[in-house]
Every structure is written in C-alpha cells, then in structure tokens.
C-alpha cells in the first residue's frame, strides 16, 4: 500500500511465555521510535501479548521448540501487526465474543484474549494456509 513510507520491524521468537516480556519491550521500543502515543502503544502491546499467548498455547501447545514471527509496519495512518506461525490453525469467526455475565457463571477461564484484541484493534484478520503457515493481521489506526 504505502510501502515506500513504512517503517518495518521484525522479531522471531521461540514459542514460550518466557519471551512475552521481550516481545512487549520490542513493541515498546519500535513504537517509541515512531512517536506513537502512549495509549496506542499500550493497546498494541496488550493485543500482541494476547495473540502471542494464543499462538504459544494453542498453535504450538506450549512446545518451546517452535518459532513464530512478529512484524510491525508503521505508516502514517496506522500500525499493522502481522504474526506468522507454523502450528495448528483455528477458525477466527467461530470464536464468539463472550457475554461476561454468562461467562462468569460458566466458570470459564481463558479465552478472553481474543475478546480484548477485538476490542482494542481496528482490524483483525486471520489467514491459514494448511500445512504451511497461519497469519494473524491486526491494525490500529493512528488518529
């Protein structure tokens, strides 16, 4: 789209929650370098943390031998985040946002991450090429 004016950052991570702190620091540093407002940085950090946690737990079943990739694209109007993994895929549209009161009554734990991502990001897209890779694309508008 506007590749000529994009700043791109990339991080390859092992699939362990041990690296979540490192992932947050990577986003923080890249966002500060691009003069992103604090509130937007916080929303992006939480959304990416949630998405990475889902990859680690559900795509890779917490096996730390696997890798996934985080790419950040900063352009004038938005931050785009692309997460690529090579593990099990899921059906994004099949996961509904929970009604919290019912959710509490059912004593469910977990599954809140996607709800937060959908609440905080302006765009959430998922693509899975069977046997090759899964790609989650998040975008946050800057204005």
């Amino acid at each position: 789209m506007q590749s000529s004016s994009e700043n791109i950052f990339e991080l390859k991570v092992k699939s362990s929650t041990h690296y979540l702190g490192e992932i947050r620091e990577f986003i923080q540093a890249a966002a500060l370098e691009n003069n992103i407002p604090e509130k937007i940085i916080a929303d992006v950090i939480l959304s990416v943390d949630e998405a990475c946690t889902n990859i680690i737990k559900h795509a890779y079943h917490s096996n730390p031998q696997n890798d996934f990739i985080i790419k950040l694209f900063f352009s004038k109007n938005e931050i785009k985040i692309v997460l690529v993994d090579y593990g099990d895929s899921f059906n994004l549209n099949a996961i509904e946002s929970p009604n919290m009161e019912i959710y509490f009554k059912q004593k469910r734990v977990g599954g809140l991450g996607l709800y937060l991502i959908r609440s905080l990001m302006d765009e959430v897209k998922y693509k899975s090429i069977k046997g090759e890779y899964n790609e989650l694309i998040l975008a946050k508008k800057l204005n």
């Binding site: 041990h18 490192e22 950090i45 946690t53 469910r108 734990v109 809140l112 937060l116």
Partner: protein
C-alpha cells in the same frame, strides 16, 4: 523480563496480596499459587493491592475468575484496590466492575470486610 511478585500479608484478619510488576501468561501461575496457599489454609477474605502492578493481560484476569466462586462459597471475597488507570481499563473492558468490588484505597476494602453491612 517478566518480573512479577505476589506477596501476601495479614491485616485485621484480611489477607492482602501485593502485586508487583508484570502479570501475564508467564507469571499468572505465581499468583495462582498464592491464592491456592491462602485457600489451602482457609483464608477467604482477600484484598488484592494493584498499586505496584504495571501491566496485566487476560491470563492475569483469569486467575481472579478461577478462584472467586470457591472463595465466595466460603463467605469470603476478593476485593481489588489501588489500580492504575491502564490496569483498571482492562478490567473495565471485560466487565469486572459488575462482578468484583473495586476500591481506590486498601483501607476501604479492609473496612468493608470488617463492616459488611454498611
């Protein structure tokens, strides 16, 4: 990187858990252990102080959901206090204020345990 601690201490028969640092999927099991220990010794009146907590993700929020029913079944509660705005916003987004008592001051939550009818 994922620095986090959860330390419990007793005040007027109420257990206060002080959170510090970053509560995420990596560190949430530490908080689970703290709750398990309190429940294991039949301590159900719990105040969680967020003053030194810099960050929380849904894995952290899940810990409070995991234990609340057992605690309330035993006539106790988890009350949440002194959250920074960025942390409160996440609780708010998920509807927690409807289901948990959240106070600005720790002493208010402790008083509520002492005088539940007020």
């Amino acid at each position: 990187m994922s620095e986090f601690s959860a330390n419990a201490s007793e005040r007027l028969d109420v257990q206060v858990i002080n959170l510090n640092g970053y509560l995420d999927a990596h560190t949430a099991p530490q908080l689970e252990s703290t709750f398990s220990e309190l429940i294991g010794s039949n301590k159900y009146k719990i105040v969680v102080n967020f003053q030194e907590l810099k960050y929380i993700s849904s894995a952290g929020l899940g810990v409070f959901m995991a234990f609340i029913e057992k605690i309330r079944d035993n006539k106790g509660d988890i009350k949440l206090v002194e959250m920074k705005p960025n942390v409160f916003n996440i609780f708010d987004l998920l509807g927690f204020p409807l289901l948990y008592e959240i106070y600005e001051k720790e002493s208010d939550a402790i008083n509520r345990f002492q005088n539940p009818k007020e």
